[in-house]
Amino acid sequence: MSDKNPLHRTSPWLHLPLVLLGLLFLFPLVWLVVSSLQPREQVGLIPPQWLPRRHYLTLDGRTFPVTPPEPILSEQRLVKPLDGPDRGRRRLVAAGRYRDGQLTQTVFTDGRREERVFPAELIQAVPAGSRYVREWAPSKYRTDTPREFYVSPDRLSVRIQPVWGNYPEAVRALTAGEDAKKLPLRELLGRTRWPWTPKDAPEHTVTFLTYLANSLVVAVLGMIGTLLSSSLVAYGLARIQWRGRGLLFTLILATMMVPFPVLMVPLYGLFRSLGWIGTLMPLWVPAWCGSAFNIFLLRQFFLTIPAELTDAARIDGCSEFGIYWRIMLPLVKPALAVVALFHFLYAWNDFLAPLIFLTEPETFTMALGLQQYQSQHGGSEWHLLMAASVLLVLPVVALFFLAQKTFVQGIATTGGNG
């Protein structure tokens, strides 16, 4: 193909701004994934670090993960007092305070400071320059007391290693009940309350899978509804020459200007009187009446199909619904794919409507569940927030790569004809 368009002449210099801008656009996504794979001690360090670094301790031939080492500056003794206020506990004291089974401790009695001597047991002499580490717990919700170690630095090693465990930990964190979070993950997810679990069923917990199932129910039911209804209406507008179709089409386009916030208060009242508040219905039932955007898109597709095709069927005595169902729908499959995709995305990403209409945690969608978790644990646990965000983003990215062409063509069609 000869292309005389001089603006289309490719200059290699064009890659410079494209690569720079591309890096800017990619960066947040990269940072999202990087942060989601860092150990919790590492997120929030100043300055931030790129690679997930994990510390390991080798002891008695065994190597296991530990917390970042803290240096011990002066010589210390790890002792266990046999009497006094700290009886039976492990204590780290300055080397000078312990000698031959005797610990000198400062105690307060009746507000007076007093140096007293207690019998104590030496556990370990800790030379200056040692490191203090704790055994690294894969989950902060499993509350086994971590073991502590005072070791020489040469027993410690650092590995660059992503913490995949942040993902199951995020799944656990998004569970609604604090007690349930302590269960083993498999058992926890086994108790998941599904959208179809009866309300009075005991021993069920709202988990990450509850949110996932709710999001899928809303997205898929709405998708089926909008596919059926929008295509039906679009067919009626594009292929049937009835009086008032022009007026109706204008009306449909005009409704695109009505923002959801204008409707949300009376819609809340309406759904409340229908008993739908606290159920998923407000989020998918309206889709069964079609949406202006989808009707518009499908109408454009129906218009491109030659009239002879349907005229012949009409002469053969095929009913209008038969023509729509058996002849036209198969012909606009690519457009139906666009509608299905767009609706899924819309439902998956929607936040304001779920925030208003969903009042019970067992009906929360993924987006709402994540926001609720964030609002309770914001400012900390960024590694889990990032991992949970990746989980929310993942289906969208997967859909995009599965149907990239459909996406781009769909958006281009709707925009170009606007």
Partner: protein, 290 residues
């Protein structure tokens, strides 16, 4: 003839039903409630124009309107500029077009909740990756979301990350421009700037207008980012108290549904008015094909 009208109407019945129940009725109800004292639990009591009169004197209402217009102006204009630059670059039949298009488009699909949490993390005052990068090149980093002067610009900057959507639409418009026009321009001795200025840009002005209108309608409803990133109260110092956020507070926190409905109708009229204004004055710069 009459039968055909009936069949057509029947095909469109689902939408008509939905329009009636989920839009016309609620809008009418909202209009009525806006003249009422209404708290969902009690029946609405008619109070005339009191809600509107109170709105005019409500500093938070004006504040939220100002914040929203500020955000919309910034987000729409900068978003348009970004998407136009990206589309023009990609229109140059560059190698690896599909790859670049994916890179620019993908972020626009991000769920707002995830995007907001991510940008919150990046905007962190100390230790945030953005301020670390600024520090590395010797620039002082503001506290972004915690600083009333920088909170709105921060949200505008973040919205530009979604420019890929408009870029795809613009790119389709650019690729529709007939090659013959460029050939004619070259014969007339036009350089690349003149071709851009007199051929390319004028011919995509209808698409630009479409993006402007759509961008405006969306940005005037800004809610989720602010709700997540700076909280339901519109912190800091109400710098991110956007219109819909205020509406949400009034209706669902204070349970003043009537007052909320008055706000909702004003938002509708603002959107209608600004869109009409945009289209009204588009004749001066939009080049429609004849």
């Amino acid at each position: 003839m009459k039968r055909r009208d009936l069949v057509g109407l029947l095909f469109c019945a689902p939408w008509l039903l939905g329009f009636l129940v989920f839009m016309l009725l609620p809008m009418g109800a909202a209009l009525y409630y806006s003249f009422c004292d209404y708290s969902i639990v009690q029946a609405p009591a008619f109070i005339g124009l009191a809600n509107y009169r109170e709105l005019l004197a409500d500093a938070l209402f004006w504040r939220s309107l100002y914040n929203t217009l500020y955000f919309a102006a910034g987000a729409v204009l900068l978003g348009l500029l970004t998407s136009l630059v990206l589309a023009l670059l990609l229109n140059c039949r560059v190698r690896g077009l599909a790859f670049y298009r994916t890179v620019f488009f993908l972020p626009s699909l991000m769920p707002v909740v995830a995007g907001s949490i991510l940008w919150m993390w990046m905007y962190a005052g100390d230790g945030g990756i953005i301020n670390t990068a600024l520090k590395a090149v010797g620039l002082p980093g503001p506290a972004w979301l915690a600083d009333p002067r920088f909170a709105k610009p921060a949200l505008i900057l973040m919205s530009m990350w979604g420019a890929g959507h408009a870029m795809v639409i613009l790119l389709a418009g650019l690729q529709d421009i007939p090659t013959a026009l460029y050939e004619a321009a070259v014969i007339d001795g036009a350089g690349w700037w003149q071709r851009l200025r007199h051929v390319t840009v004028p011919l995509v002005t209808p698409v630009i207008l479409f993006n402007l209108v759509m961008g405006l309608i969306v940005s005037l409803q800004v809610f989720t980012q602010a709700f997540i990133m700076t909280g339901a109260s519109g912190a800091p110092e109400r710098a991110t108290l956007f219109y819909v956020l205020r509406l949400y507070q009034v209706a669902f926190r204070d349970l003043r549904m009537g007052y909320g409905c008055a706000m909702a109708w004003i938002l509708f009229l603002v959107i209608l008015g600004l869109t009409a204004l945009l289209i009204r004055f588009s004749g001066k710069w939009v080049q429609y094909e004849r």
